[in-house]
Structures are given as structure tokens and as C-alpha cells.
Amino acid sequence: MINGYNSDRDKATSDDKLVARSKNGDKAAFEILVRKYSKYVYTTAFFMVRDSHEAEDISQEVFVKVYLAIGGFRGLSSFKTWLRKLTVNTCIDKLRLRSKTADRKVSLDSMVEDGKEILLYEFNQNVEKFFQDKEAVKDILKIIVNLDESYRIPLILRDLQDYSYIEIAEILKKPVGTVKTNIHRARKIIKNLMIDK
């Protein structure tokens, strides 16, 4: 527990330092931030837009925005939180522009065949525990990725990105009640499909 706390604090401190260096025009520091967070941004985008090429475009767009605007980042939230919100906003904008993902079926297995793999996030220390749950988590992600957009996006924002119901309602421009209902239904679908397995 104490180690976890220290590692979180160290992580934030190192991000703060990298951001400060990037603000001063240190490109090497910004490269470290890109290497550290590019997969995180890609994963967030992938689960939201369900298209690997578009997820990559979004990742590029997000980092270009961050690079151009990092001088204006005051650090009132952590860099990771800021990056996550920017990624989610960019994805929502893309989803609003088109609705082609609405009926698509996406297979995580085919992604693995294409050379894409589900990996342990580099910040997670508890490797052993992860591998015990890996298959179940993969099953859940497979279900999530094929959920209808109206269920998938609020569920991802709430359960994987820790957004509050109010924030989700603001982002999706829907009433809080609708958001809560959709998340509840999404969880129910996942639960029922997991029982069937």
C-alpha cells in the first residue's frame, strides 16, 4: 500500500518534471511523455471509436494538441487526467461527426492476429494478479467493444475512465438519469453474458 502510494507520487512528480521541461521547449522530455502515454491514449481512443486507424489518428491529434498547447497547461489537474480528458473530448467530437461505428462488430481476437495485443499497463505493479484475471477481463472488453454506442461510451467513461455521472451527462449532452440508466443496462448486459459463459 505504502509502496503503491510512493510509486503514484513518484509517477506524478516525474510527469510534473517532464511537463515543466516540455514547457521550456525540451523536445526529449516531450518524447518521454509520448512514449509513456501513447498506448494509453490509443487504448482509450480504440475502445471509444472501435477503429484502429482512427484511434491512431486520434492519438496523433491528441499529442499534437498537447505539444502545441503544453505552455498553457497550468497543472491544476495531473497531466494524465488532462490527457485523458483531451482524448475523450477528441473521441466524442469524432463520434459526433460520424455514426459509422454504430453497428459494427469488432473482434479483439482479430486485433491480436493483426499484431495488436492486450498488454499489462506499464504502471501496474501487480503483474501476478493481472494474469489471474486476464482472460475474464478480455471477455469483458470483448463484450464492451461490441456494445451499442449509447451503452458503450457512458460505461467506458464511468467504469474505465472514472468520470462522474454529471461529467458524462455534460460530455454526451444527455440527462443524468439517462446516463445512469444506460450504464446500469450496460452492466446488466455484461453480467448476463458473463453468466452465460
Binding site: F30, Y67, K191
Partner: protein, 110 residues
Amino acid sequence: MKELIMKKLNKFFKVAKDIVVDPGNDIENRIIDKIKNLSDEDKVILDDDFMNFLKKSNSRLYLFNKKLKENCGLIVFFGILGLAAGTFLLIEYRNYKNQKAKKTGRIFNR
């Protein structure tokens, strides 16, 4: 049974937060290359929506208001608690004053 699955589901969501999909195509270097070759035209990416987001994320007032909105229940709870404590202290103070007045009244009468 269902509760157990729901509990497990929450645990799996926690684990799922810590995983990434590896795009397997050297995404980091592509992003870095893109950044190295930015031109003035790329600055159009900083549109009004983004500037609005940046402004909000840099505003203490906005973040404070957001926290207030999100923790409405907690604020109401502490508000009621504060009001109850205030009322209790006020009543106690008035009792104390009355008692003191009675005492001083007695002394004065003697």
C-alpha cells in the same frame, strides 16, 4: 450469485483500467515524427473547442464549481451538520446567558 458476479465485475473493471492495447505499429515513433515535422498549418488543430477545454482546465473557479456540483450530496450533508451544530451551540449559549442572568439577578437581589 448475481451480487457475486457484480462484485467480480467491479474488480475486473479495476484491472481493465490498467491495460493497454498495443497497436503493434510503432505508434510512438510516428507521433514523434509527426511532432518533429509540424508546420504552421497544423496549428488549426487548436480550434475553439480545444481552446475552450484548455481555458476550463486552467480555471480554478470552473474546477471548484464542478467539484461542488459533483459532491452536492456531501455538501448538503455537511451543510445540515453545520446548521445542527450551529443551532445546538446557539441554544447552549442562550441557556448559559439565561443562567448567568439568573445568577447575577440573585446576587443583585441579595
